[in-house]
Point group: D4
Chain length 222, copies 8
């Protein structure tokens, strides 16, 4: 088990974004839906920045489950959508597995709504098929907090690696000392840790006071 | 350990629903009792839909523990009730184990109230006896949240697979593209994710507006 | 203020059930949506049992707000639906106020989704117009818990009376010693305090042991 | 007291947005900072849509308190910034009160970071000076949840009206049946209830299925 | 309103302990049931120590609501039990009000399960009848936390005084410098703040070390 | 690892109750202190009922850590107290290990305050020394909830078995069909699940109604 | 009521710090004890900076309640300690009231452990005696969160003004543009909002980068 | 895996304190920032007391991440700061690994902000490189609670040992019976369990009463 759990090799990754659908999002109870949406966008943008292949799919999108949220293909325009024919576990859909095999990559980065089903089932099947499966649990969304706790225990037991969105983005980018550094910074500040935006504003203001002088007019009062 | 943790083979499953008794329900603190009742019903209905054998039992139902909730046998009329003679661990009751052996199946799906006792003990004994044990923790109910956290750790360590009700139903049904698809949908909407009902109503209304026109009378005001 | 806050006179009540719509329900964050649905049903059934006039209305039901949940008119078939022409505050819709005036009653029992808007606005307007306004906050549903805390403070300050569903049903029925007693009991056990169902089952079993003897077979073991 | 607590007259409103500064935001503990930022933006955009005068100010922005978040003046370009000379209570700054008086309006809509200081002090002073004060508590942000609970009690006792952002926007817009209806809808979906976005996507998809047919390919399987 | 809200005159108090029944206790969700039981016992013992008249009653104790918990009459043997004939509001039961009147006292100390019904209704009726009503909310127990929040707002608005058990006991005893001082201390340590028991043990041990010497044998090591 | 995690053999157990001291109890934050005290008592009483050897020890009881709570030796009078000479890990104290060895038993049931130190260290040392270690985490008490979560992960990883008090008592007693059955029932109702007491009272009352007739006087009204 | 609730006149204030004792602190459950200690220190330091008279007292400090925390007199060396002779309500101790009267001030700033007793009772008595009472609830500490919620409702109803520590310090200092400005800043950063310390450090570093250049050595890599 | 999880050998430890920076601290959501700062200080002081080598590093401290908090080098003056050239995983910085190798020690004690990145990555890399990695999770700080839960699961699965600060300090000091005993006590009381300070004060007072007599003047009253 431990042998599969090391640092990710970004060049071996294929990203699976499964069933991020508007209707399913409205059943999510383990994290705020806007956060979930942002974390999924962060993964899509990261894959695009790093030329990581992305596969998407949806579970019966014609019914109340609703459509894929549009941002995923908007921000990962190279993503390939693989329609399903009813299977709950995306790994049971032969074209989906074939698309993975075609990439020649063996490290899965998976997020899926709902976590205990759409993330966990393909992760377990991937492990059984000999792949590494890194599971981005907070970019997935589940129907109850207890279900998420149980899913973390199950997938960890099965040998999949549980992760959060920030760790995944950081593990894929590896260093700030690269051309795309500021683009990664923007992904983090806009979609993962929005309080970081305040830090950047305070930082700029602190330096502006040195360069441009103060705006507070203490001397004007009485 | 990991070898036991794969996707479930529905044809090898026997479902054990242990000690879902009205009195014990009133000591449950780790999830709302009405949810617990619904999740147990969801398992019973799923077993019926898929012809999965079900065994039930009760712990001293003549005392304050109270009777089995009636819905289990109502919705799984094929379930077999095995009375106990005082044993806390249902696996210590020879007729219970004999009934399991008679099914010839090796994959246990277990839920039991209270989780840390009535679910955990038979699960651990089943593992020791060479069975696979999938534990539906949120269809069980426990006397404290910390006890549930501890039980998840214990049974996972012992090689049992921790799961939630939604994942169990989905893993047993496998695909929406089957005759019973809408019946599974009803189980989920009525007993597991009742917010899904709102999605279905909104979906129907959105289509009715296209087909039948709007009911809002913006033009009547002034 | 205090003068308006006494026990309710059931014969003076008109019940306003405002904007209990499927889409809006999916934005509710201050209580579980299935509970909210049940509490609204409890009010509808109570009004029917007691012949209390009920007015319903919806906010732009042709759009994503969705349709009224069907149970309200199902369980209060005498309810009158008053369409709106865009007004957010139902009290700004003249036909709605006229329908209230036609009842000749001066005590409003109000629930509305979302609480801080669809409940609070008509309640405040009703107070200003000289009515008593009893606000059933947990049969309303709001977009955030903090918004509910603020709304309780606001409506209480304005002279409306904040209440929960159980208190409202109990205050309207007044005594168990009436023909409809068991029907009220059913409303409470099915829709408000479902743990009460366990109590009833345990109660029946305890008496069955006296009448019919035990089912536990302690003597069969060993 | 109750006499001040009625529905707002939008034509009498001046909006005070006080000390929404990046540094102070990083001390906020009673709601998520990104939500706070969005709620402040919602107020700014609403004021712009309705031509409501807006006054802003900042507390020692040259130090660690940091600059005003830029979105307020970006989305309320007509807002007037009134520098302070050290006063904690903005009402103690004569130019601030003069700017209010110049509008001729008597209904204050106030939000301020931190709630128990920058919102509460001017609200109490405004009441003492004969104004109405509607306090948007969740567009303010406070250093502890207990401090917010205490502030709600204090300002309500003093005669100020506690409100949430959604209620404020809805109370100012009054009806969907107006030219700016869809712009208000966008403010709510983008800045206040982002789960509403999912509802709109699901709604559009449900209608697309009627108009354009399904995308699910159930018939392709097997 | 404020005029009723001063310190309690212990000599004017009659204590009403309403519907503390075993079955109802099992529906309590706003505080742990063992705490509730202890707080009710604390009130009973305090009344006995101070010769305060106590009236008890029960709501349909023959059904699932269950019997009065036995400790109340055990620890307040002078309490008078007034049977009801179905009325939900104990104040609607003429013998109950007559028993109050017979005491000649005008200050009610009330606790009742469930809070929003069995406490709130008699409190509001008492206020209307010209009594003072001190409501011991945490010695009552309610079916939901939100219902308790709403009840606190309602009874406060109506002029009843909301209190906790510790404050009530302390307000009735007034001083430690009285014969019953240590008995009050025992009530608090056993039934209200059991962590206080640890303080007393630590205190005694600290003094024993001075008087009797240490038991730790640091010098024996190595 | 899994090989150590089976059902407990009660005849092989020695119970270690480590550092349950009054001062340390006042630093416990992961569960209510009165619950912790009750759970420790439950273990002591269970050991006495089953003649399980018990060892106790204390960490510098002469200082602010305070004395052992007296109930442990009161309810397990056969327990042997082993003074320490400063060691934090009780396993580092040779007389403590010698006392264990003298019992000839290889299954440790351990509880200790604080969990992450006084429970975890001896448990890990016991595993390293070839013993089985069942850790009763909720009979231990820790300085923070996060510390408890971390400790559960650590000890589980090390091969110790995490458990709750109810499971431990049930696993040691094994069956209700034994002479001590009712004594175990009393331990559970008094010290572990006090809500069970309500069930017993309701049960008795339900049967009393059959045997003795009702006390409710519905016929007396009107 | 509202007439008493305006901004504080610092020149009319006497501060009452009641029963901040080490033993009582160990029973506090509504906020972290270290925060409580810091808030009490913040009040003491603020009083010293502004020459506000301070009265302290303790409830039976010779027993388990323990001594006054030493910091109060350390940081408010001008405070006068008034011993009590057993009274729970400090206002029942004649020397305490005489000391207040001697100051000639009519505005009480009160904090007391436990909130529902040691803060609430003197506050209510002060109101009855014609004083203004500003209650610093989070510098008090209570035995349960529900007790604090109830106390906030009770004292607000009685006409006392509920406040938090930050608001109190800010309301007393009124402006940053004064000689003691930085000393108030230190009180806030050290004792009330310690996250503010991070802001100051980040601010200094941001300016140091402008003045002294960067320390990050991006150019040294590869 | 289990083989790495035993008690720590303090003589083999090198402590890695990674990215404890003021800006990053302001993004921490899984524990209070002041607690985090104290826990990091506790580790620094402990390393100094025991002559454990300490390595620090920072992630782009010239930007909004901010400077290292000054206390680490203040309280561990022997710590060596290793600048980075952009790498997110400190283990990817060759000088950092070389500094570790130079110590000749194989047991890493690691804390890092943010936990899921700055702690987890070096821990996993250290395990892969053959080191033992003890991870002090609550001295690290993470951007969300769910991220911390996921990180605990990930690092435990990878074979790193999850721990809390108290356990780490206790495991390194091993016994109170050493020259530095009282210094360790001060670290714990000041930086880890500040409620312990109350215990020490109560302890001293209890003994003072024996030695010096009481200060309470019960005899002076009346």
């Amino acid at each position: 088990m431990a042998s599969t759990n090391g640092m990710i090799d970004p060049d071996d990754v294929v990203m699976l974004l499964i069933d991020h659908q508007s209707g399913l999002f409205n059943t999510v109870q383990d994290l705020p839906v806007p956060d979930l949406r942002n974390y999924a966008i962060a993964l899509a943008k990261t894959a695009t920045l790093l030329d990581i292949p992305v596969l998407t799919t949806a579970s019966v999108p014609d019914g109340p489950n609703g459509p894929l949220i549009p941002e995923i293909h908007e921000f990962a325009p190279h993503a390939q959508f693989i329609p399903r024919t009813g299977q709950i576990n995306a790994w049971d859909n032969p074209p989906f597995v074939e698309a993975i095999e075609k990439t020649g990559r063996k490290t899965m980065v998976i997020a899926g709504t709902l976590t205990s089903v759409c993330l966990a089932f393909p992760a377990i099947s991937a492990i059984e098929a000999g792949y590494k499966a890194y599971c981005v649990v907070d970019a997935s969304g589940n129907w109850s907090k207890m279900a998420t706790d149980l899913t973390i225990a199950r997938i960890t037991q099965a040998g999949a690696i549980p992760m959060d969105t920030f760790a995944m983005v950081a593990e894929l980018m590896r260093t700030w000392n690269r051309a795309e550094g500021s683009q990664f910074g923007a992904i983090i500040a806009e979609h993962i840790v929005p309080t970081y935006k305040c830090l950047m504003e305070s930082y700029d203001k602190a330096q502006a006071v040195v360069k441009d002088g103060p705006e507070t007019m203490m001397d004007r009062y009485q």
